[in-house]
C-alpha cells in the first residue's frame, strides 16, 4: 500500500488549467523533490493534497484511504503536515509556543476537557521535545522570544520545525530554501536529513534551489504545465532532454 497516491488530479482557475491529470505514487518513506518552472502547478498540487483547494477531479489517497477534497484541518489530523511558500508562523507567540501549538490536540472535545481539567501533564515531555527540535536549528536562544523578532530565514526554520512535532506521515515543504541565507541553508538540510534518519517518513519538497534539492532528495518529480513531465533520480532528471527543454524553453 502506497503512503501517498495521487491520480488524475486536475484543477482549473477560470480559464487557467493549473493541474491537468497529475498522477504519481509515493510507495515508501523518502525525501522526494518536486520541481518545475514557475507556473508548473507545484503549489496548486500541494494545496490540493493538503486540502487548501478542492481538486476538480482526480483522487488523493493517503495510506489507502481516499482523502480527496477533505478540508485542510482534516488532512492535517489525518497525517499531512505542510509549510507555506510565503512562510507562516504565529508572530505574537514565542518560538516555543509556536512549536507547542502545532503539538496540542485540536479537537473541540479535547480542548473543552483541557479547559475544565487544566491537565498539562504531557506538556513537560512536549516542551523537552520542542526545545530539542529548536536547538537542532539553532533557535534555542530564541525559544522565549516572539516569532515576530526572527529574521525571515529563522522564521522559515521555525515553521518547518513546528510541522515536525506532531509526527505526521507526510511532510509537504513548499520552497523551504527560499529566502534562507547559505549558512542557515546548511542547518536546514542537516535538520531534514536528521529528521529523516530519526524516523523515515515521506518528505515531499517543492524547491527552486537545484543544488539544495538535488543533494537532499533521492527521487525527483518534475512538473511542467500542470502535468508530471519526468521522474527519476537527480542524475536521471538532470540528464533528461525533456526537462532541459521545459526549463530553458
Amino acid at each position: 500500500m502506497s503512503i501517498l497516491q495521487v491520480s488524475g488530479l486536475a484543477k482549473a482557475y477560470g480559464g487557467i488549467r493549473a493541474l491537468e491529470e497529475v498522477s504519481f505514487d509515493i510507495a515508501g518513506p523518502g525525501i522526494y523533490g518536486l520541481i518545475g518552472p514557475n507556473g508548473a502547478g507545484k503549489t496548486t498540487l500541494f494545496d490540493a493534497v493538503a486540502g487548501t483547494v478542492k481538486p476538480d477531479s482526480g483522487r488523493v489517497m493517503l495510506q489507502g484511504q481516499d482523502v480527496t477534497g477533505w478540508p485542510s484541518h482534516r488532512m492535517a489530523r489525518a497525517g499531512i503536515s505542510r509549510t507555506f511558500q510565503e512562510c507562516r508562523v504565529l508572530a505574537e507567540e514565542s518560538c516555543l509556543d509556536n512549536v507547542l501549538f502545532a503539538a496540542q490536540p485540536k479537537g473541540l472535545g479535547a480542548s473543552v476537557r483541557q479547559l475544565i481539567t487544566r491537565a498539562s501533564g504531557h506538556r513537560r515531555h512536549l516542551r523537552e521535545e520542542a526545545m530539542r527540535l529548536l536547538s537542532m536549528v539553532r533557535l534555542q536562544d530564541y525559544a522565549h522570544q516572539p516569532a515576530a523578532l526572527l529574521s525571515f530565514g529563522q522564521r522559515r526554520l521555525l515553521e518547518i520545525v513546528s510541522t515536525f512535532i506532531s509526527s505526521p506521515e507526510v511532510f509537504l515543504l513548499d520552497e523551504p530554501a527560499s529566502g534562507v541565507n547559505p549558512a542557515l541553508l546548511v542547518v536546514l538540510a542537516d535538520f531534514i536529513s536528521a529528521m529523516y534518519a530519526e524516523r523515515p517518513r515521506v518528505f515531499l519538497v517543492v524547491e527552486h534551489n537545484m543544488e539544495f534539492i538535488m543533494s537532499l532528495a533521492q527521487d525527483i518529480i518534475v512538473m511542467h504545465q500542470g502535468r508530471v513531465l519526468e521522474r527519476g533520480t537527480p542524475a536521471q532528471v538532470q540528464a533528461s532532454p525533456a526537462v532541459m527543454e521545459a526549463y530553458l524553453g
Binding site: 493538503a50 487548501t52 478540508p71 485542510s72 484541518h73 492535517a76 489530523r77 503536515s81 505542510r82 507555506f84 507562516r88 508562523v89 504565529l90 508572530a91 505574537e92 507567540e93 509556543d97 501549538f101 502545532a102 496540542q104 490536540p105 485540536k106 473541540l108 479535547a110 480542548s111 473543552v112 483541557q114 479547559l115 487544566r118 525559544a143 522565549h144 513546528s162 506532531s166
Partner: protein
C-alpha cells in the same frame, strides 16, 4: 516578585469591590454606578473573547444582550419563571442565537463580516422595537422583577436593596471574568488566538476554524445575554434603545479603549465608560464624543488600550527581572 505584587494588587481591588457597600454607604450613587459597570462589563467580556482574542469584530453584539434580556423578561413576567431559571434560559437562548447567526456571518470575512453582524444587530433591534405583542414595542417592557429573595437557613437575602443587587451583579461579572480567564489560558484560548493571527496556518495545523469561531461567537453572545438580563432586572424595564446599534458600537469602544485581548480590558473600559462622564459631570450625549476622542488617541498612541498602557507602566516601574520570562 512582580507577579506576587500583582496578585496583592488584584486582591486589594477585589477586597475594595467586596466591601463597596460599606464604603459607599454615604453615597449610594457610587454603588449604583458600580452595578452599571458590571452590567456593561459582562457583554464586553463576551465581545473581548470574540474581538480581542479571536479577531471577530461584531457590530451587533448588544442585539444578543437584548435577545437575552427580552427572553428573560417574557419568561419572568408572562410565564412567572424565577429570575434564576429565566437567566439560565436567556443565556442558552442568546448562545443558540449566536450559533445560528454566527454560522451565517462566518460565510463572510473582514469588513463584510462586520457589516453582516451589524445587519443582524439592527434586525434584532427591529424585532424588539416592533413586535408589540411579545416585547411591548418601543414603549419598553415594564414591570420586570428583581430576583426573588433567597432563603439560606434563617437568613433571607432579598435583592431589592441596592447593596444586595450589587453583590449579584458583582458575582455575575466575576463569573464572566473567570470564564474569560479559563478560556484564554487554555488550549481553547491558544486555538482562538491562532485563528486571529493566521487562519490558514491554524487550519493547516488541524484547527476546524468554522467550529471554533462558532463556539466563541456562541460564548460571547451567551455572555451578552447574561449582561442583558442583569440590566433589565436592575432597571426593571427592558427598552429596545438599550440594545440598539449605538449600544453595540459602545461595547466595541469599551473593549478597544479598555484593551482588546487583555483580561482586564473590559473592566477598565467599563470603568471609564460609566465613570468618566459622571466624574466630569457631563451629559450622556457627551459620552460618545469623549469616547470617540479617546478612541482616536488610543489608536494613535496606545493600540493595546488602557490595559496595555497600565502594563507598560507596570513594566517600567517594577525592577527588571533576571532570566527569561
Amino acid at each position: 516578585m512582580g507577579r506576587s505584587l500583582l496578585w496583592v494588587l488584584g486582591l486589594l481591588v477585589l477586597a475594595a469591590l467586596l466591601s463597596a457597600p460599606s464604603w459607599t454607604a454615604e453615597q449610594p450613587y457610587v454603588l449604583h454606578m458600580l452595578v452599571l459597570m458590571c452590567i456593561f462589563a459582562i457583554p464586553a467580556v463576551g465581545l473581548n473573547l470574540m474581538l480581542g482574542y479571536s479577531g471577530l469584530v461584531s457590530l451587533g453584539h448588544m442585539g444578543f444582550a437584548g435577545l437575552g434580556a427580552y427572553t428573560a423578561a417574557v419568561l419572568m413576567v408572562d410565564a412567572r419563571w424565577s429570575f434564576w431559571s429565566a437567566l439560565g434560559a436567556a443565556t442558552i437562548a442568546s448562545g443558540l442565537a449566536g450559533v445560528c447567526i454566527g454560522l451565517i456571518c462566518f460565510r463572510f470575512r473582514g469588513h463584510f463580516f462586520m457589516i453582516v453582524t451589524l445587519a443582524f444587530g439592527l434586525l434584532l433591534h427591529a424585532v424588539m422595537n416592533n413586535w408589540d405583542e411579545v416585547t411591548r414595542g418601543a414603549a419598553g417592557f415594564a414591570g420586570i422583577p428583581r430576583p426573588r429573595p433567597l432563603q439560606w437557613g434563617d437568613e433571607v437575602i432579598s435583592f431589592g436593596p441596592l447593596p444586595h443587587f450589587y453583590y449579584l451583579a458583582l458575582g455575575l461579572a466575576l463569573l464572566a471574568f473567570a470564564v474569560q480567564y479559563l478560556v484564554v489560558r487554555s488550549d481553547l484560548g491558544r486555538i482562538l488566538s491562532a485563528i486571529r493571527q493566521d487562519e490558514r496556518l491554524a487550519r493547516s495545523r488541524g484547527v476546524d476554524v468554522l467550529l471554533y469561531k462558532t463556539v466563541v461567537f456562541a460564548l460571547g453572545s451567551a455572555l451578552a445575554g447574561v449582561g442583558g438580563v442583569l440590566q433589565v432586572s436592575f432597571l426593571r424595564v427592558a427598552a429596545p434603545a438599550s440594545f440598539n446599534m449605538l449600544e453595540s458600537i459602545n461595547t466595541v469602544l469599551i473593549v478597544i479603549v479598555g484593551g482588546a485581548g487583555s483580561l482586564m480590558g473590559p473592566a477598565l473600559g467599563a470603568l471609564l465608560y460609566v465613570g468618566l462622564p459622571e466624574w466630569l459631570r457631563l451629559a450622556n450625549e457627551w459620552r460618545l464624543v469623549i469616547f470617540g476622542g479617546l478612541l482616536v488617541l488610543i489608536t494613535l498612541f496606545a493600540p493595546a488600550g488602557l490595559a496595555g498602557l497600565l502594563s507598560s507602566l507596570w513594566r517600567r516601574l517594577s525592577p527588571p527581572r533576571g532570566g527569561s520570562s
